[in-house]
């Protein structure tokens, strides 16, 4: 470890890096509307947008500074720093300070988050310029960047969890940004709840690690639990965990599997693996920059980041790693197949994201964690490019998202078209673009892996490798399908299907609702406490739909320059990023030394040899073949425009495609079972248990006293003769009792 004497400034730089986005969010939240009122809408928004970009850009600049001064001057394996700020939780048995851990892994993620984040901020200043709630958008977006930075820079699991939930919250707020449409709000709910399911797994994983780290779990001789002897109350911090865990896990390998699986459940929720992926396609209801930033580049990659951080646990348990890779493989195939049936451009990209995340988990599952991060980086580049490009297309096409209404757009949106083409090439794995390098690395790692797990006699890593090849074919096929349906082949004039749609007026449905309000007279006479306004509220009426109507020829025109610049930058990164990261195995060495503690790999994983030589030698040709197969399929079927079998008339669709359009009924059945079914079950429970059973028992006690009263009511009939009779009877009985000598 390098001494920190020369680097006192690092202490404040790191916390500043984390705080800048939060300051931006706070400013936008408190003063956003005020700025717009004071400076007018146009200049106010310019100021707000620049401020938002500046705050994130400053974080990026600081990260670059750190890289230049530390990481480029020293070899990677000594660059691990820990900074402690103040105490968050300070109990006798648990101490969680706010501490940050700077090492190659976290600085990589920081660069990614702030870099891609600032580009997307720039893009959104143009994309959201017509929206009514401009400052609110940037509040949430900045807050997201801040939470993501906390997630990657934290030195302990609880602070990571803070960031984890924080990005879930921002995702919820941003997906439901256009809240007037209830469907968006429901999609946001779904995202939050499914993420929470993952969070429960993560919490249980944290608890298991905590349990193991108590040096003696205190049970005294009487079998009672006493407070254990904790040597260091900071037992959630990485340095303590990674120092103590290897010895514990060597003696209890079952615990390693349990902890690994629980952490993986957390990663599944956040990174949309099967079966917890159902929130990601619905999350496309949010604005496109949100989809690009959160659901393509950063938040969904936090699962892979978690696996990279805690890879020690996974390396003690080959079975957990096998499950990780198998789940990743299943997700990749599942999502790729669904993408064939989608007609909404953003949904195609969403399922493509799920599929690529599956790739990343495949890599982590076979032991090559740095490969997972490599694919995170390249995926961030080209997927952000694709999403932002699709956002540009949507912007230019007046919010039309159905690909069946596109066609031949290369002519009208040249820059966007070229950038999207680069992105498509990258994701398909065309050689020498960034996607090619990372995919190669994944397949190489899978075939080369030495993990011993096997499934029905076939070893898992090889199976996963071949699945990866298959998914590569599918990926290139559906991505080229998307590109050809949208843009067509350059310099070849295809069918312009959007001309077939009549130009419709976007404004009429607003006047309907306004007219309805004005015609009714409301009676405000009972408003003693002055709750109601008489005049029409100005900002309540302002609707937040965007209108980028097609120009007077009803032809799409190219998007503003700020959006184009971002697309071009991302395209350049997609072309060259992978190559430079792979040169001289730079990223591998950079990330592999990412642990402050050295430890010995367990013996179960060494020495397991799979005979994949032949495959490995011809891997390059296999992957090029895969890409070519996919591309040729797409060219054959789609180069002449929309085939009838995928047109508007869904009767003509093939049964497989219809099934795929519905997500193989997985999402809908889950919604029906847990959403609708959960509601009905809850109502039923209320009716049967609360209303009928428990309340019935309680009311029964009340009725019991009434019944007792009813029984004795016989004796109180108000009839005086009866009373006298009873009195005389009683006196008789007493007299007899006395006469019989009872009072002795």
């Amino acid at each position: 470890m390098i001494s920190l004497e020369n680097y006192n400034w690092l202490h404040s730089v790191i916390i500043l890096m984390v705080l800048m986005p939060f300051l931006g969010a706070l400013f936008q939240a408190l003063y956003g509307k005020l700025t717009e009122c004071l400076l007018g809408v146009k200049s106010g928004r310019w100021l707000l947008g620049s401020l938002a970009f500046t705050f994130v850009g400053t974080s990026f600049g600081l990260a670059l500074l750190v890289v230049k001064d530390i990481f480029l001057k020293h070899p990677a394996d000594v660059c691990c720093f820990r900074f402690t700020y103040f105490d968050w939780i300070n109990l006798e048995v648990l101490r969680v300070p706010v501490e940050m851990f700077l090492d190659p892994l976290s600085i990589t993620m920081v660069l990614l988050i702030t870099g891609v984040g600032s580009l997307i901020h720039l893009y959104s200043t143009a994309y959201m310029s017509d929206d009514a709630e401009y400052s609110r958008f940037f509040t949430y977006l900045n807050m997201f960047i801040g939470f993501m930075l906390i997630l990657v820079l934290s030195n302990n699991l609880l602070l990571l969890f803070v960031g984890w939930e924080g990005v879930g919250l921002c995702s919820y707020l941003l997906i439901g940004f256009w809240y007037k449409n209830l469907e968006n709000a429901k999609a946001a709910n779904k995202a939050f709840i499914v993420n929470r399911i993952g969070d429960l797994g993560l919490l249980l994983g944290i608890f298991s690690i905590a349990f193991l780290l108590h040096s003696t779990y205190g049970i005294n001789s009487a079998g009672n639990v006493i407070t254990p002897q904790i040597l260091d109350p900071r037992w959630l911090s990485y340095d303590i965990i990674f120092g103590l865990l290897p010895s514990i896990l060597t003696s209890y390998p079952d615990y390693a599997t349990a902890i690994a699986l629980l952490l993986f459940v957390g990663a599944m929720g956040k990174s949309a693996q099967f079966p917890l992926y159902v929130w990601l396609p619905d999350a496309m209801a949010g604005p496109t920059p949100v989809s690009a930033l959160i659901h393509a580049a950063t938040m969904v990659t936090s699962g892979i980041f978690l696996l990279n951080r805690m890879h020690m646990v996974f390396e003690f348990s080959p079975y957990a790693s096998a499950i990780v890779s198998v789940v990743g493989a299943i997700t990749a195939v599942w999502a790729a197949l669904i993408a064939f049936g989608q007609t909404d451009i953003k949904k195609v990209l969403a399922y493509s994201t799920v599929s690529q995340l599956g790739y990343m988990f495949m890599a982590c599952g076979v032991g090559a964690y740095w490969v997972g991060m490599f694919h995170v980086l390249t995926h961030a580049f080209f997927k952000a490019l694709l999403f932002l490009g699709s956002g540009a297309v949507i912007y230019a096409m007046a919010h039309e998202q159905d690909m069946r209404r596109y066609g031949n757009l290369w002519r009208y949106l040249p820059v966007t078209g070229i950038c999207m083409m680069i992105g498509t090439f990258a994701i398909a794995g065309i050689p020498l673009l960034s996607g090619f390098w990372s995919k190669e690395a994944i397949l190489h790692a899978a075939f080369e892996s030495s993990y011993p797990a096997n499934l029905l006699g076939v070893d898992v890593a090889t199976l996963v490798g071949w699945t990866g090849v298959f998914v590569a074919i599918l990926t290139s096929a559906y991505m080229f399908r998307m590109h050809l349906l949208t843009f067509g082949i350059p310099f070849v004039n295809g069918a312009e299907r959007w001309r077939l749609i009549p130009a419709h007026d976007h404004h009429h449905h607003h006047s309907e609702s306004e007219g309805a309000v004005e015609s009714e007279k409301y009676d405000f006479s009972d408003d003693t406490f002055n709750f109601y306004r008489r005049e029409l509220c100005s900002h309540g009426c302002h609707h937040s739909d965007e209108h980028h109507a097609l120009d007077k020829n009803h032809e799409p025109k190219e998007v503003p320059y700020s959006m184009q610049v971002v697309l071009v930058i991302l395209a350049i990164l997609s072309i060259f990023g992978g190559f430079f990261l792979h040169q001289h195995h730079f990223l591998e060495h950079f990330l592999s030394s990412s642990s402050a503690v050295s430890w010995v790999k367990p013996e179960i994983l060494v020495d397991s040899y799979h005979d994949n030589h032949g495959v490995l030698e011809s891997l390059l040709y296999i992957s090029i073949l895969a890409v070519t197969i996919g591309m040729s399929y797409a060219l054959i079927v789609y180069s002449r425009g929309l085939p009838e079998k995928e047109g508007y008339n869904e009767e003509k669709w093939s049964r497989f495609r219809l099934f795929a359009k519905d997500g193989f009924m997985f999402d809908s059945s889950l919604s029906r079972i847990f959403g609708r079914g959960g509601y009905k079950l809850s109502e039923g429970f209320w009716y049967v248990f609360d209303n009928f059973l428990i309340d019935g028992i309680v009311n029964m006690f009340g009725k019991l006293s009434s019944i007792c009263g009813e029984m004795t009511r016989f004796f109180q009939n108000g009839n005086i003769r009866f009373y006298i009779f009873m009195m005389s009877l009683a006196i008789l009985v007493i007299i007899f009792y006395i006469l019989k000598g009872g009072l002795n």
Binding site: E92, L182, S208, F211, H214, Y217, F531, Y532
Partner: protein
């Protein structure tokens, strides 16, 4: 310790009786001046709060480092019957006392829209504050019982007067139900007093005396069966009060028909149950707690999951809040009964956090219901456009309730679950590790119903076009809610403000449970005859040789 405080004997009692003075003063104001009544009520609650804060600062309660009581006042009322008047402050109850006063103030603040029956409202809230503070500070079992029962009266009044026909029925059910539970506790108290006389020859209901005899094992000796019975008598009363499934059915109906402004205090009333468990059940019956932990933990998990699950389909907004409270109180008791240090601290913090977050939500709901009279969730929608600041405050309250890290709700839930997992993973007390997973389902379900509530009120299109004209939150409401929001974030970012003072007491309570007889800690008591002498860290006149 500041010597100024030591010269005021009975300071705690005098400050705590301020609400009574307030009641008398408010009753003297004629009904025409309802704003004056409300202002006076607010003045008295606020002065109680400030008085307590200053007093506690004076005696050094905010930097407490020991589990012993910092202040005890004791007067023997009827020595033959063993009835003493003992009040005291230690780590367990002083935050609750402060929270009571704060929330009474907020309740009165949010009653600005009451038109006709202001005097009754103010008097009821003052009486409730008095009874709650009395219950929290009392250290004599009979006095605790009296104050415990006294809290029923104002709640009954409030709900039956403002609730209509259904409200009267709900209030009656609540009263009879809770009262029945407490009758068992009364029997238990009497038995405890008699056992104390058996053991030491003096009849006394003083909690400190009884606890010290329990601590050295002389009270129960070998009567484990009797101890179980008496534990259950106390437990039933507290289980009904802090509603635990299956004794919770009084709550939803009560909430549905109560005036929302006074339900702000209902969050504190529920704490009587959990405080009772911590203060009375755990230290007084240590030998049998181990047998009952699996039972109690299962009931807590049932509360969490069942309460949350039923909240998902409620159509009445206050019904959702009632079941949400049941679910959160399940977390509190889960932490307490996990018998691990982290868990117990978590449960106790969750008590306070629930007060703050539910109090804030109730405040905001009272503002909402003042504007729009209906409580059905289906009649709301799309209010975020009209009332954006209100929506932002509600979002913060909701996130605190759901347990987002950075807000106060997270610490309590995290520590409770972790405590339960710890005890379960060691397979101690008959628990298993998967129980923490089941209890964690409550977190997911909480997200479900709270998000549904938020979406139902704020998102979507306006369901009633008249709502287009609704004004946003008013300044005084904003400041009141802002205070609560500040507290939420303060505790969220720095929980040690709260945990620092309750940790020693919780540790002591835990030791009282898990250690065998003779090794258990006990609170210092002091004897003094008159009102004037007070216990100054108990340097003078310790009794009977216990430390």
């Amino acid at each position: 310790m500041n010597s100024v405080c030591l010269n005021i004997p009975g300071a705690l009692t005098y400050i705590s009786l301020l609400p009574l003075v307030g009641m008398l003063v408010v009753s003297a104001i004629p009904n025409m001046y309802s704003r004056v009544q409300r202002a006076l009520g607010m003045f008295f609650t606020l002065s109680t709060l400030l008085g307590h804060v200053l007093f506690f600062k004076c005696i050094g309660m905010f930097s407490v480092d020991t589990y012993h009581f910092k202040w005890i006042e004791r007067v023997t009322m009827v020595s033959d019957l063993g009835f003493h008047y003992v009040v005291g402050i230690d780590g367990l109850n002083f935050w609750l006392v402060l929270a009571t006063s704060l929330l009474s103030f907020m309740a009165l603040l949010c009653s600005a829209y009451e038109k006709t029956k202001m005097k009754t409202l103010v008097n009821s809230i003052l009486l409730l504050q008095l009874a709650l503070i009395g219950a929290f500070i009392s250290l004599d079992l009979l006095m605790f019982f009296i104050c415990f029962e006294l809290t029923l009266v104002p709640v009954f009044l409030l709900v039956s007067m403002w609730g209509g026909e259904e409200g009267s029925r709900a209030a009656l059910k609540f009263f009879v139900y809770t009262f029945t539970g407490s009758i068992f506790m009364l029997a238990g108290i009497i038995v405890l007093g008699l056992m104390h006389r058996c053991a030491t020859g003096i009849l006394s209901f003083n909690y400190l005396d009884i606890q010290s005899v329990v601590a050295n094992g002389a009270l129960w000796k070998t009567n484990i069966q009797l101890e179980k019975w008496i534990f259950w008598s106390f437990a039933i009363a507290f289980m009904v009060k802090s509603p635990m499934v299956p004794f919770h059915t009084w709550m939803p109906r009560l909430y549905k028909y109560s005036p929302a402004g006074s339900m702000i205090l209902s969050a504190v009333v529920l704490k009587l149950g959990s405080y009772g468990f911590l203060r009375f059940c755990l230290p007084l019956f240590p030998d049998v707690i181990a047998y009952h932990v699996p039972w109690m933990v299962s009931l807590c998990i049932a509360s969490i999951v069942y309460g949350g699950f039923l909240a998902v389909s409620q159509r009445n907004i206050m019904g959702i809040m009632a079941y949400s409270s049941i679910s959160h109180m399940g977390f509190v008791l889960l932490g307490i009964f996990s018998l691990s240090y982290n868990g117990m601290v978590g449960g106790t913090i969750q008590q306070l956090n629930h007060i703050i977050s539910t109090g804030l939500i109730m405040m905001l709901l009272s503002m909402l219901f003042a504007r729009k009279d209906s409580r059905k969730l289906s009649e709301y929608g799309g209010l975020k456009a009209q009332m954006p600041i209100f929506a932002a405050l509600f979002l913060i309250a909701m996130l605190s309730s759901v347990g987002l890290p950075g807000t106060n709700g997270f610490i309590g839930e995290f520590l409770s679950l972790q405590g339960l997992f710890e005890t379960g993973a060691a397979y101690a007390y008959g628990l298993e590790p998967f129980l923490a997973g089941v209890a964690g389902l409550g977190l997911i379900i909480a997200a479900c119903y709270l998000l549904r509530l938020f979406q139902g009120i704020f998102y979507g299109d306006l369901s009633n076009l008249k709502d287009r004209y609704l004004r946003d939150i008013k300044p005084f409401e904003f400041y009141a809610a802002g205070v609560m929001v500040i507290i939420i974030f303060l505790i969220g970012f720095n929980p040690s403000i709260v945990t620092k003072t309750i940790e020693p007491s919780i540790g002591a309570v835990r030791e009282m449970v898990i250690r065998p007889a003779g090794e258990r800690p006990t609170w210092k008591r002091c004897e003094w005859e008159e009102w004037h002498k007070m216990c100054n860290g108990c340097n003078k006149r310790e009794v009977r040789g216990d430390n």
